[in-house]
């Protein structure tokens, strides 16, 4: 994929998209919010006021206060500190699943769409089979049988997302495969690899990026669901989903325990979804509000 990134024309389209992006207010807010969440989890050791794991029973189930501004849990641990550390797993898994889906889904989709025929048929039947699996149950089976380690969680969530991406990339590839510039490239003697990498991939890149934001938010929710069911992160490690599961027993006494992770997950997913909407509009020249945005002089 090296032939894609540094080309000046591609960079140019990125600049145009970047210039377009801030016009989407919700997306900008989403981006800022997401960056804040990422930064907060990265800097957790600096920001977190307390140790997320150390038990202090004298402080258990304390409501939000100045010392513990999101309250404490049933072991007297600071909910806010646990949120910060728990976010590390969720966001890492999200990122890994995105990488997994990209690495497997995109080449499969490109190959299927470009070559067509029997390759396409076999691959799409496989994709069908994967999509028939209930995603969360498949993840439960994989993690439940292999173990709750990060690589298995990524695998469990990635194998459901990669086929979705593959099918989408295939569709977009089919659409651009017949475009004139592809025929032109072929006439000039470009091989299949060159056509796929430098002509097709670049032109299906924007739906891929948008789909990847969807993959990311789906992965964050799925990781939380897995941990909630007891199949992901294991206690005492902090985790959004796992902590919500623990909080079930204290719904009445300590509602902050389940509210804090729930709201955090929602904020996270909302930010990513808005970001995805903004990216879709920014990368699609047809959606640009043309007045004043791409003045010939300016561009």
């Amino acid at each position: 994929m090296a032939s894609v990134a540094p080309s000046p024309r591609f960079a140019g389209s990125l600049v145009l998209a970047a210039r377009q992006f801030p016009r989407h207010r919700a997306a900008t807010i989403g981006l800022v919010c997401l960056l804040l969440i990422v930064l907060a989890t990265l800097l957790a050791p600096l920001i977190a006021p307390y140790d997320p794991i150390q038990i202090k029973l004298s402080m258990k189930l304390k409501p939000p206060s100045l010392e513990h501004f999101l309250g404490t849990d049933h072991f007297g641990r600071d909910v806010f500190s646990r949120l910060l550390y728990g976010g590390r797993t969720s966001l890492t898994v999200g990122l890994l699943v995105v990488a997994f889906a990209f690495l497997f889904g995109v080449p499969l989709g490109l190959a299927s769409g470009y070559f067509g025929g029997r390759i396409d048929n076999v691959m799409m039947r496989l994709v069908d089979a994967f999509l028939t699996f209930p995603p969360l149950l498949l993840a439960v089976a994989v993690v439940g049988l292999l173990g709750p380690e990060l690589q298995y969680v990524t695998l469990a969530l990635g194998i459901v997302q990669a086929p979705v991406l593959a099918r989408m990339v295939r569709g977009s590839t089919l659409a651009v495969r017949e475009d004139v510039y592809v025929t032109a490239a072929r006439a000039l003697g470009a091989g299949p690899l060159r056509i796929v990498l430098s002509h097709l991939l670049r032109n299906v890149m924007s739906p891929i990026v948008v789909q990847l934001t969807i993959v990311f938010s789906a992965a964050v929710i799925a990781e939380a669901s897995l941990s909630f069911l007891g199949f992901g992160t294991q206690p005492p490690e902090p985790s959004w989903g796992r902590d919500m599961s623990e909080a079930r027993r204290f719904l009445n006494d300590a509602p902050w325990m389940f509210l804090a992770p729930t709201v955090t997950i929602m904020l996270c997913v909302l930010s990513i979804n808005f970001l995805g909407d903004g990216l879709r509009d920014a990368m699609d020249p047809r959606a640009w509000r043309t007045r004043g945005t791409i003045d010939p002089e300016e561009a």
């Binding site: 028939t132 699996f133 089976a141 929602m266 997913v269």
Partner: protein
């Protein structure tokens, strides 16, 4: 269309075969011996060996799979290693519960999304449209188990209006229809909110598209009543993608219920698979995933068929 249906139906066994093969590989390629887990550490090697032979676990993997497929074709999904019941009997117990919950969730989704979607399309950019957008955006972002906890906190703990558990319990079955339905309400809302969001958004956008068509202007010009225009002309056409989506989403619901079943102690399909995974109960995992996958496949075929039935322009 019948030929198309035939073609689709022929593909079903192929896809199911791939699904079952994948489940088989996942279960067998992973660590954890079901016999060991079930019998504990102190069993005699003979007892373990006998049990292994009973479930064919001592045979080569290809033979195990072949034997299993051979029985499935005759409608026999094997026996649960843990409960010693036939998987089909377990299925007969669990499937109706899951179907009822899915049905309840879908019903709620329809009750909310149809009026909300229509209203948002008719009064675009008014408060009702913003309410609809806000609702769908939130519906996409909230994890269903988080929503479930919020609903339990508000409706079951603080207001004490609705029970948390009781689906499939004997008390619920013995009481009247209200005692039977009551425990479904909170789980159904939690389960159906995502579908409500999907359906509302879809109906809104397809309504808007239909309302902007030329024949809508003609209908108005003919002097038809606004109600006739909206409900007879616009809704009928806007409903086509909607109905298909309902079928697709319904197929999904059985598979996504796990977290809801877990919270509300619902004896459904999802919790059965969950337990089976923990206990390495291979026949149950294989049988249940197969049925869930088949259900999903058929829901999709029904969706495609509905599409062709409702829209005369579509011919397969």
């Amino acid at each position: 269309m019948w030929r198309y249906l035939g073609g689709r139906l022929i593909q079903v066994p192929v896809v199911l075969l791939v699904v079952s093969l994948m489940t088989f590989v996942i279960t067998r390629a992973t660590p954890g011996d079901p016999i060991q887990i079930m019998l504990g550490m102190q069993t005699s090697p003979e007892a373990a060996a006998a049990m292994r032979a009973e479930f064919n676990l001592d045979r080569p993997l290809a033979v195990q799979y072949g034997l299993w497929v051979g029985k499935v074709v005759t409608g026999d999904l094997g026996r649960s290693m843990r409960l010693n019941d036939p998987v089909t009997a377990l299925l007969a117990e669990r499937l109706p519960v899951s179907l009822q919950l899915a049905l309840a969730a879908m019903l709620l989704a329809l009750l909310v999304s149809i009026p909300l979607g229509i209203a948002a399309a008719l009064w675009r950019n008014t408060w009702i449209d913003y309410l609809c957008t806000g609702y769908t955006v939130m519906g996409f972002a909230v994890p269903n188990f988080g929503l479930a906890l919020i609903l339990i906190y508000v409706f079951s703990i603080k207001l004490d209006w609705l029970p948390i558990t009781g689906i499939g319990s004997s008390e619920a079955a013995a009481g009247g229809w209200w005692t039977y339905i009551r425990p479904f309400i909170v789980p159904a809302i939690a389960l159906g909110t995502l579908q409500t969001a999907i359906l509302t958004r879809l109906l809104r956008s397809s309504m808007i598209e239909v309302l902007s068509q030329d024949y809508m202007r003609t209908a108005r010009a003919k002097g038809l009543l606004p109600g006739t225009i909206v409900f007879l002309h616009a809704l009928k056409n806007a409903m086509i993608p909607f109905v298909t989506m309902v079928a697709v989403q319904f197929g999904y619901m059985i598979g996504v219920q796990v977290t809801i079943e877990y919270i509300f102690a619902v004896p459904g399909m999802g919790s059965a698979v969950l337990n089976a995974v923990v206990n390495r109960d291979f026949p149950v995992i294989q049988g249940f995933t197969l049925v869930i996958a088949a259900f999903f496949l058929f829901a999709n075929i029904v969706a495609d068929m509905l599409y062709a039935l409702l829209d005369p322009r579509i011919r397969y």
